[in-house]
C-alpha cells in the first residue's frame, strides 16, 4: 500500500452535454496525473483550463466521460474514498446560521465523529486555523479570510490523508494568504498530501514539490518544480556586501574566460511586493 498514489487520474475525459442552443463542451481531454503520498502537488492553469473539473472528478462530484480517478487506490465513484480526503472549494460558503464551532462539529458529525473526540478535534482545528476567538460568532459575519480558514478547518476535521484545495487564497489579503501558505507547508511536514490549485504562482512555487500545468483541458507540462523552472544554461550568484571593485574583478574574470560565458544581468535583487507588504504592515503594528 505504501506505493499507492494518493491521487491517480488516468486518461480522464469530461464532456459536458450540450443543450439545443449550445453544443457539448469538452472540459478535460485525456488527462493523466499521479500525486504521490506526502507531496504537495500544484495544478495550475488559466481560467477554464479544466482544473476545477479535474478536482471534482477526483472527489466524485462529477462522473468522468472516459477514464477513471482514485484516491489511495479507491475509485472516486465510491463514497468510501472520501474517508481519506478533505476538500476546500473555491470561495466556500457555510451555513450562515451556524457558528464556527457548530460548523466544525456539523462536518465532523457527517464524518461519523461524536462525543469528546469530535469536540476536542473541533477545538484543535479552531486553534490550528487561528479561529478560536471567533468560534462562537455566526459564520455569516466572517471575513473572506476567516471563511477560507474555516474551510481548511472543516477539510481537516476528520484527519484526512489528502487535502484538495481549490484556490485556497482567492480573495484573501496577503497576511491571510501567507497564513494559509504556512498551513500548507505545515501539512506537508505532518505527512498530509496536498493537491492545490492557485493563480498565485509565486506562492505555488514556495509550497509545491511538483506542479502540473493545464491548458485547454490538457496537461501541457508536469514535473518537479526545480526541474521545470531551472534555466539549464544559466547560473545565478547572489553576493552580499560586494564592493564595486569585487564586482569589476568578477566581470573581468568572466570576460577573460571567453568560451561563450557572459554576464547577462547585474544589479540589486528585488524583494517581492508580497514580502514588502508584509514587512510594512508588520512594522506598522510595532509600538
Amino acid at each position: 500500500m505504501a506505493d499507492t498514489p494518493a491521487v491517480s487520474v488516468q486518461h480522464l475525459t469530461k464532456v459536458f452535454k450540450g443543450t439545443l442552443v449550445k453544443g457539448a463542451f469538452r472540459a478535460v481531454h485525456d488527462l493523466s496525473l499521479e500525486v504521490k503520498a506526502g507531496e504537495v502537488y500544484g495544478l495550475i492553469g488559466p481560467n477554464g483550463s479544466g482544473k476545477s473539473t479535474t478536482m471534482k472528478a477526483i472527489l466524485g462530484l462529477l462522473k468522468p466521460t472516459e477514464g477513471h480517478t482514485s484516491i489511495f487506490g479507491v475509485p472516486s465513484t465510491e463514497v468510501s474514498s472520501r474517508h481519506s480526503v478533505g476538500f476546500l472549494p473555491e470561495n466556500p460558503y457555510f451555513y450562515k446560521h451556524l457558528t464556527g464551532r457548530e460548523t466544525l462539529r456539523f462536518y465532523g458529525s457527517l464524518c461519523g465523529m461524536s462525543g469528546t473526540r469530535l469536540k476536542d478535534r473541533a477545538e484543535e482545528m479552531l486553534v490550528l486555523t487561528g479561529l478560536e476567538d471567533a468560534a462562537t460568532r455566526r459564520v455569516g459575519g466572517y471575513s473572506k479570510g476567516m471563511l477560507q480558514r474555516l474551510g481548511l478547518a472543516q477539510a481537516l476535521i476528520h484527519d484526512p490523508r489528502l487535502l484538495v484545495l481549490d484556490e485556497p487564497t482567492a480573495g484573501v489579503d496577503p497576511a491571510g494568504s501567507r497564513k494559509i501558505r504556512d498551513l500548507i507547508i505545515g501539512f506537508r511536514e505532518r505527512g498530509i498530501t496536498v493537491l492545490v490549485t492557485s493563480h498565485l504562482l509565486e506562492q505555488m512555487q514556495e509550497v509545491c514539490d511538483r506542479v502540473g500545468i493545464m491548458a485547454h483541458g490538457r496537461m501541457v507540462r508536469e514535473g518537479r518544480l526545480e526541474d521545470l523552472i531551472a534555466v539549464e544554461n544559466q547560473t545565478e550568484m547572489v553576493l552580499e556586501n560586494a564592493t564595486p571593485e569585487l564586482l569589476a574583478k568578477i566581470s573581468d574574470l568572466v570576460a577573460k574566460e571567453g568560451g561563450g560565458s557572459k554576464i547577462l544581468h547585474s544589479g540589486h535583487p528585488r524583494t517581492t511586493l508580497e514580502r514588502l507588504f508584509l514587512e510594512a504592515t508588520n512594522e506598522s503594528k510595532k509600538p
Binding site: S8, L62, G86, Y93, F106, L110, G112, G151, Q154
Partner: protein
C-alpha cells in the same frame, strides 16, 4: 471503460452505508437553519391571527362559532404547511449548490441519499413541530371556547326559561361534537401527511430544476392538479368522451401526480363527523407509499446529477 483501481473493500476502506445518525445531523442542521430564518415564527403568528379571526365573525349559534373557528384555523394550517414545505425545499437544495456547501458536504463520506433524506426530514420536522404547537394551541382555544359557549347558551336558555334537562343535554352534545375531539388531531395529522407528500414532490423537482421559481411554480401546479386527481381519473376511464391524446395525457397526469384529495378530511372534521381509524390508516399508508416512490425517483435523479 476498464477499472484498474481496486474497490474500497479490497483496499481496506470501510464501505459507507446508510447512517441514521448522519441523516439526523443533516436534518437537525436544516431545521435549525429554517428556524433561524424565523419561518416557524411566521407560521405560528399567522395561525394565531387566523384563530383570532375565527372569533371575529358574527354567527347565530355555538355550533357555527366552533365550526368557523376550526374551519379558518385548519384552513390556514393547511395552506401554510404546504407553502412552507414547498418554499423551504425549493430554496434549500439550489442554495446549497450555489453556495458550494453541497461540495463540502458531499466531499465527506456522505451518500447522496443520506443528504436528500436529511434535507427532507429537516423540513418535515419543522412542519411537524409547527403543527404540534398549533394543534396544542388550537385545542386549548377550542376547549376554552366550547366551555364559554356552553355556559353562555345555558345562561341564555335559563333567561328564556327553556333550560329543561333535555334541552341542556342537547346543547352539551352539540357543543361537545363540534368542540375538542380526537378528530381535530386527525385533521392536523392529515394536514401533515399532505404537506409531507407535497414537500417530497418539491424535493424531486428541485433535484432536476435549475431554478427555485420553476420548482415552486410546478409544485404548486402539481398540488392544484393533485386535488382534482379523481376528476382526471374519471376522465381517463370514460374512453368515449375523450381523444387518444387526451386519454394519454390524463393517464400520465394520474400516474405521476399524487392524489391529494385522499388527505382531505378537514371538511368532515369541521362539520363534526367522526373520522374512522381505517381512514387514518389508509391516509398514512398512502402518504408513506407516495413518499417512498418520490424519494426513490429523486435519489435516482440526484445520484446522477453533476455538481
Amino acid at each position: 471503460m476498464s477499472e484498474p483501481t481496486t474497490s474500497s473493500a479490497a483496499n481496506g476502506a470501510a464501505k459507507v452505508r446508510f447512517s441514521p445518525r448522519r441523516v439526523w445531523t443533516l436534518a437537525l442542521a436544516t431545521m435549525t437553519q429554517l428556524i433561524r430564518m424565523k419561518i416557524l415564527a411566521f407560521l405560528v403568528v399567522f395561525c394565531l391571527l387566523a384563530a383570532g379571526a375565527g372569533f371575529a365573525f358574527s354567527v347565530i349559534n355555538p355550533e357555527q362559532q366552533l365550526n368557523l373557528l376550526k374551519s379558518v384555523t385548519l384552513g390556514a394550517l393547511q395552506i401554510f404547511s404546504i407553502v412552507i414545505g414547498v418554499v423551504s425545499t425549493a430554496l434549500l437544495l439550489p442554495k446549497d449548490m450555489e453556495d458550494r456547501t453541497l461540495y463540502t458536504i458531499l466531499s465527506k463520506p456522505v451518500p447522496r441519499f443520506d443528504y436528500l433524506l436529511g434535507k427532507l426530514l429537516g423540513v418535515l420536522m419543522l412542519i411537524g413541530g409547527g403543527l404540534i404547537v398549533m394543534d396544542a394551541v388550537l385545542s386549548l382555544i377550542l376547549w376554552m371556547r366550547q366551555s364559554m359557549l356552553f355556559e353562555d347558551a345555558v345562561a341564555h336558555m335559563r333567561l328564556e326559561k327553556m333550560d329543561s334537562p333535555e334541552a341542556v343535554a342537547q346543547v352539551r352534545e352539540i357543543v361537545a361534537r363540534q368542540g375538542l375531539t380526537w378528530n381535530l388531531h386527525w385533521a392536523v395529522w392529515a394536514i401533515f401527511l399532505k404537506a409531507t407528500v407535497v414537500t417530497t414532490v418539491a424535493l424531486l423537482l428541485s433535484s432536476i430544476a435549475s431554478s427555485t421559481l420553476f420548482t415552486i411554480v410546478i409544485t404548486f401546479c402539481v398540488t392544484i392538479i393533485g386535488h382534482g386527481e379523481s376528476l382526471i381519473r374519471e376522465f381517463f376511464f370514460q374512453p368515449y368522451l375523450s381523444s387518444t391524446m387526451g386519454r394519454a395525457a390524463s393517464f400520465i397526469l394520474a400516474a405521476i401526480v399524487p392524489d391529494l384529495a385522499q388527505f382531505d378530511i378537514v371538511d368532515s372534521v369541521v362539520s363534526g363527523e367522526i373520522v374512522p381509524w381505517g381512514v387514518v390508516y389508509d391516509m398514512t399508508g398512502i402518504a408513506a407509499l407516495y413518499v417512498t416512490v418520490y424519494l426513490f425517483v429523486t435519489h435516482l435523479l440526484f445520484v446522477e446529477k453533476e455538481l
